[in-house]
Amino acid sequence: MSQVKSVMAETGQSPSRKNRGKLQISKSQIVFEKAGIYIIALALIIVGSLVSPQFLTIDNMLSVLRSISLLGMVVAGAAFVTYIGEYADLSIPAIIPLSGIVAVFALPLGVVPAVLLGMLAGMMIGVMNGLVIGYLRANPILWTLAVVFFMEGLMRFMMSNNQIYPDVSPGTSGADFIDLYRSEILGIPTIVVVMLVLLAISHWILRRTKFGQQAKLLGSAYEVAKTSGINVKRTVMIAFVLTALSSSVAGILITSFNKTGVYYLGQGYDFQAVTAIVLGGMTLSGGRGSIVGVLGGVLVIGLLSNLMTFMGVHPFQQKVVIGTIFILVVGLNQYQLRKMGKDHG
């Protein structure tokens, strides 16, 4: 801290009149922050319906939901890493294929055991991340980057660039497996249901559990959380394990869709997840945001991609657009917080 700042801290300078007035504004701004992403979603829907009559149809909306389901599952867990202030888990693109590959390997034991084993495999990566980042305090970006690199390398090497084909003759667990992605529950695609369930669980964890409360404190101020008696190391561990679990579920379903287990199935999910999380109102500094917001972020990404496709924007161009929006949204968010004087800690 600069010398001037430390003097101010010591003398307990009371907030200037400027700040007191901001109290009023900040409450309504917070409301906008929370609902904001859905307002944007609504705006996208309106624009979409103007661009094409096919946009606002049940079929299209369902297709949008289907396209975001996997991402929605991933962010249900990944949001926690950002929430506790550890930026992002870049090892997600490795957890996804790993869980799928393990599940396919284990299919001879039956679909359910296979799925469980796949999730277990993914969870182990989460545990490893939790240990290195929570206990050893490694830089989360550098470590998870290292993990995704060596895990993908490992998978490529073990599969010798081949793919794992499950035996899909009817009646086998393989057939059941590839059915997972394509099935429906009461008329709604399973993947959408799974996404909503995971997000609901995630929301409950954030709002109603001990861990969720501790995560909020940890994200707000790490040191203060430590001196307040929170087991910061364990909390970080849990966040990474949750990410790994939800990514594993997504990974198993993606593999089911792809009908084969292959190392590149997870590519791009790290970036998309961070984008959705940040769009949804969770700041990188931690302790802020909600799962409802994150769902909004996922929706906006889905609607935007869908809209751009309708407008004839090529997938490569879409990538450019989303990258730009990502930077702008975070920048804007940070700017707003700075103006409200809320960016300390």
Binding site: T11, G12, Q13, K210, S220, T227, G345
Partner: protein, 502 residues
């Protein structure tokens, strides 16, 4: 000794610096002369650091007149101060640690060949010259990271000297030095004095001031109390000025019993932090922990709560073995710790009062995985009322509160666990008088009504003397004594903390 008695190098006339709610420096007038070591003495909060920052150019809004060598100047930024020949040596040295000695000393003015290539020979030459001025012979390319605090400090001095200052301000320069290193530093200071520099020496180590200073200015509550030659003062007289006339009995008389022993600390040691600490404290008792900054008080407190480990020794709490492995353990055993720095370690500035107060109770208010804050619904409200926190709204962000109210919230957070042992670390630092009173009343009531044991770490002597039943004194990590209520007076404590007999 060249004493320039004609006109002062630095002349400060009726300078003041105001912060919202308080006057940190109150119409102070003082002169500093060339070839003199002028000590600035005062307790924490006396205003000496603010005065120093004024000289350093940290403020653009002070009032009053400052003249350097009879030239009026506006010290509104650090570069203006530097241009006027003022050199600052802060306690937290401003060196770039991953870089070499040479790069730090010659920062911003590396000698070059052809305008852009660094002239290595010149660098070595100039660095060596600068190092010689402080009596150091080190490899110019050694990294500052590898130097001892003593060597780093000398490098910082060499760096400042490189700008040919007329005035050097040193802030607590001896806090991490050994006795022999202090002697070396003093030799350099004497040398600089002879070269005609004016040296302003800020400290509250009395023995050293007597060894090195020519003049002493005492500050208290933002005002200058006196400026005298070193021959005209004694440690006792200085302490009396620092502490002021005995304040009217501001603190209530003790009217309750002290019960059985509650916490016993035996031979507690942590290598490099504190050594062989032994004391005990009883139910309802207030035990003060006195000492200068850096004596190891906070480190001891953190070890008592499990935040930091300890290497040797043992503790008991209510006759049970007590060895907390974490703050959570300590909380479960009923031990609370109100940390020194409320903004960095104490409060969640981004959250509201309610969330801050309930932070320590998360474990208690959970059934298994589920967090049931309903149980603690009334707690924040009650504490807001008890401590008279303003504004009395539990949903207000803590960052919007004044210093005094923030401190109350911090206290509330720890009162919420209904502690058996409450460790307070500078509980009223940067707090206005009204809040201070309330905090003190609350502490005493806690001790009286619940029999809580209070350990009070404080540099605020009236507070320490007024509240404590007993006081242990730490110096450089060791316990050098224990003082009973009858021996307790502000002067006595300060003298003991400095290593002098009362």
């Amino acid at each position: 000794m060249n004493k320039n008695t004609s006109s002062p190098v630095l002349h400060m006339h009726q300078v003041s610096k105001r912060y919202p709610g308080m006057l940190a420096v109150d119409t102070v007038s003082v002169d500093f002369y060339a070839g003199e070591v002028h000590a600035l003495l005062g307790e924490n909060g006396a205003g000496k650091s603010t005065l120093m920052k004024m000289i350093a150019g940290s403020f653009d809004d002070y009032t009053g007149e400052i003249k350097v060598n009879s030239q009026l100047c506006q010290l509104h930024s650090p570069s203006v101060a530097k241009d006027n020949g003022i050199g600052m040596i802060y306690q937290e040295l401003s060196l770039a640690r991953p870089l070499s000695i040479a790069e730090n000393i010659l920062i911003g003015r590396l000698p070059t060949k052809f305008g852009f290539v660094v002239d290595t020979e010149k660098v070595i030459e100039e660095t060596k010259i600068c190092l010689q001025r402080v009596g150091l012979e080190l490899d110019p390319f050694a990294l500052v990271d590898t130097l001892s605090p003593h060597e780093s400090q000398l490098v910082e001095i060499a760096k400042v000297l490189g700008n040919h200052p007329k005035i050097i301000v040193m802030d607590e320069p001896t806090s991490s030095l050994s006795r022999s290193e202090v002697v070396r530093l003093f030799d350099i200071i004497k040398l600089l004095k002879e070269q005609g520099l004016a040296i302003i020496y800020i400290s509250h180590h009395l023995p050293e001031i007597f060894k090195i200073a020519d003049k002493v200015t005492v500050m208290r509550d933002g005002k200058k109390i006196s400026t005298k030659g070193i021959g005209e003062v004694t440690p006792k007289s200085l302490v009396q000025e620092m502490v002021g006339q005995s304040i009217e009995d501001f603190y209530q008389q003790r009217s309750h019993q002290i019960g059985e022993t509650r916490i016993v600390v035996k031979n507690l040691s942590r290598f490099g932090f504190f050594d062989n600490i032994n004391f005990s404290a009883a139910r309802g008792e207030v035990v003060g922990i006195a000492g200068l900054a850096g004596a190891g008080r906070s480190e001891l407190a953190r070890a008592l709560c499990g935040i930091d480990p300890f290497d040797q020794g043992s503790m008991t709490l209510d006759n049970n073995h007590y060895a907390p492995k974490s703050m959570a353990n300590a909380i479960k055993s009923g031990v609370a710790y109100l940390s020194e720095d409320r903004k960095r370690e104490g409060l969640f500035l981004r959250l509201d009062i309610k969330q801050n107060v309930l932070a320590t109770l998360i474990d208690k208010h959970s059934k298994g995985l589920v967090y049931t804050p309903k149980e603690g619904r009334d707690v924040p409200g009650e504490l807001i009322k008890t401590l008279e926190i303003m504004p009395a709204d539990e949903l207000i962000d803590v960052s919007n509160l004044s210093g005094g109210n923030q401190q109350k919230v911090l206290l509330a957070k720890w009162l919420a666990i209904k502690p058996k042992v409450l460790i307070l670390d500078e509980p009223t630092r940067g707090v206005d008088v009204g809040a201070k009173n309330i905090i003190h009343e609350t502490i005493m009531r806690l001790a009286k009504e619940t029999g809580a044991t209070i350990l009070l770490i404080s540099s605020d002597l009236p507070e320490l003397v007024g509240l404590a039943d007993r006081c242990i004194v730490l110096r450089e990590g060791r316990m050098i004594g224990e003082m009973q209520k009858s021996e307790l007076s502000e002067e006595a404590v300060l003298l003991r903390a400095n290593g002098e007999a009362a």
